[in-house]
Symmetry: C2
Subunit: 354 residues, 2 copies
């Protein structure tokens, strides 16, 4: 493997000194880039793009050719595991992910297999290996998975949801059944992330997109406990380096203290949390990643810069900040505004790292 040339992202996650704040963007390989749209059209549908290691590699690298980003992230979907369990993931035009065979009974759950990441999810590992090779050590590669709770919501609801009626009915009526599902998912995610690490992912992130729809008690019992279990089972060293783990619960700003106790290295913040408050609350335990509202990329360059400056000032002096958006980049932002963001983070953050 090529030696890593830019390790700013990995160092910041471990709260080690850096020359400037590293930056990447959730969904940086995505529809806002015309070159992504071209590759996706070539692949056919979204899952075909994920399954083709060369094309998945191509779209992973596209944003890095445009912007001096400090990390690449595996191009894949958070729902690969339920798909590998046999639920049949597909995407309706403009509708988000759907499952052909959502879970509807205890029996469905007991029968779910734990996927072998090198078999049913081998296409993901091929993508990781291909991307890692083609990065030539320029920046580190991030692997990821959805959280057990988030995967379970899609598996039970059959797709996206607004009120999460089905899974909450299950949670309140048959908590043991839901725990069985979550335990299987936690085991599957652990195997999956460890396989990504062995295939070359230099950091991993767990996306808990829907943890924020829970009460605090339910979040700890049904989401956080399983992410904690995953972190306990992860291989934390590879190629002689620590493999940092970032935990991101959208809407989880009230639970940062509990999240920081899981043994993760960093917390992802959405934009509803003030990063200065977050640092006061957990800053000495973990690094923080975030947290500009992705809608700011619709604004004029000066407005974007002002927001970058405010977030950098909010985090303040010292190490342990990875700049990012608070959620994925929107598909209709002008790509040049992403460039404004990346340049501004690098330039404006230097004084905080003297």
């Amino acid at each position: 493997m090529d030696e890593l040339k830019n390790d700013r992202y990995l160092r910041a996650l471990l709260r080690q000194p850096v020359d400037m704040t590293p930056v990447w963007m959730m969904r940086q390989a995505g529809r806002y880039l015309p070159e992504y749209q071209a590759t996706r059209a070539e692949a056919g549908d979204f899952m075909s793009l994920c399954r083709n290691a060369d094309l998945a590699c191509e779209v992973t690298l596209q944003p890095l050719r445009r912007f001096p980003l400090d990390a690449a992230i595996l191009f894949s979907d958070i729902l690969t595991i339920p798909d590998a369990m046999g639920l049949g993931l597909y995407f309706e035009q403009g509708e988000g992910p759907r499952f052909e065979r959502p879970l509807s009974s205890f029996d469905d759950i007991t029968k779910l297999p734990i996927p072998d990441p090198e078999q049913e999810l081998g296409y993901v590992m091929n993508a990781v290996r291909t991307i890692r090779k083609n990065l030539h050590g320029e920046v580190p590669l991030i692997g990821f998975s959805g959280s057990p709770w988030t995967l379970a919501t899609y598996m039970v609801e059959g797709g996206s949801s607004k009120s999460f009626t089905k899974i909450k009915k299950l949670m309140y009526a048959e908590p043991k059944t839901l725990h069985l599902l979550l335990a299987k998912l936690a085991d599957s995610v652990t195997l999956y992330l460890n396989a990504q690490i062995r295939a070359g992912a230099q950091a991993v992130m767990i996306f808990d997109t829907w943890g924020g729809v829970l009460t605090g008690n339910d979040y700890r019992e049904f989401s956080l406990a399983y992410m904690h279990k995953i972190i306990d089972g992860l291989q934390r060293e590879n190629e002689g380096r620590r493999v940092p783990v970032t935990l991101f619960t959208k809407g989880g700003g009230q639970w940062l203290e509990a999240m920081a106790q899981t043994g993760c290295d960093a917390l992802g913040l959405d934009w509803s949390t003030d990063i200065a408050d977050a640092r006061r609350r957990v800053g000495n335990q973990v690094a923080l990643q975030g947290n500009m509202d992705p809608s700011l990329l619709y604004a004029q360059p000066q407005r974007i810069e002002r927001e970058v400056a405010e977030i950098l000032a909010g985090f303040g002096d010292g190490d342990g900040h990875v700049f990012n958006l608070g959620h994925g980049i929107h598909q209709d932002v002008p790509p040049e505004n992403a460039g404004v963001l990346v340049e501004a983070v690098h330039r404006l953050s230097r004084p905080y790292h003297l």
Copy 2:
């Protein structure tokens, strides 16, 4: 006017002693009740029901006939003001509210009239007077409005939204234009709530359904500041009694301290906030209303009771708690489960008020 027989709700909002914790449910007059569905079918569409004082009164009183609730809430919609401004509110089947003529330019905003609540919104005042009369002093009547920010999101987006692209573009590109709109809405809401109070509303609530999609800074500038301005302009005494004001920002759990500084009497909490934490943070300044996840009404009675007990214990001893759901009751819950909730709150809260 009849003398008020049960003032538990008003007393709790003012943190005065009560014999048991008062309880009402957001959207308690709604589709989960077959008698509501019958009256709505009689009225025709949703807005015709709102505009018919006798039928609006009928649905307001329906849940009180079933359950010993401690307050009634005006049956109306949060979007009556933009409708009165000429935007043309309508409801698509299963799609939520839409406007025929959403705002699309600075010119549209400068031309918006400030509705006279006794004219264009006279049907709401008629409903308030009719309900108040027919309540015969059994419980107090709550009036309400959407917050300026929440109204603005619908007016600019044209309806419900997932990513709030249009209003955020406006906010970041033309903040002064948005401030002009919000100032007009704040004036309109102030007039509207004061008219409701004069018509007989004994408490008012401001629903900020979408404040939680903002950053903390933007929330303070574009939502909270205007709610503060409204509260400053409200008539706080009527019929020799204080008229309490409750502020509810869904997803605003991180900003309770700032919300408590607005001069409101109470904060509504959604279920993502731990009520014990909320009380530690603001408990001596304001009362708290909330905050059971409405999905718990899908559960078995014992599970509902357990949750009620936990929320009551979380708030703890003393006064200043109004029990409620953290958001509106879902349309498909069994009505008898709402009865379980109300009975459990009254029974289990007595020991906290000895």
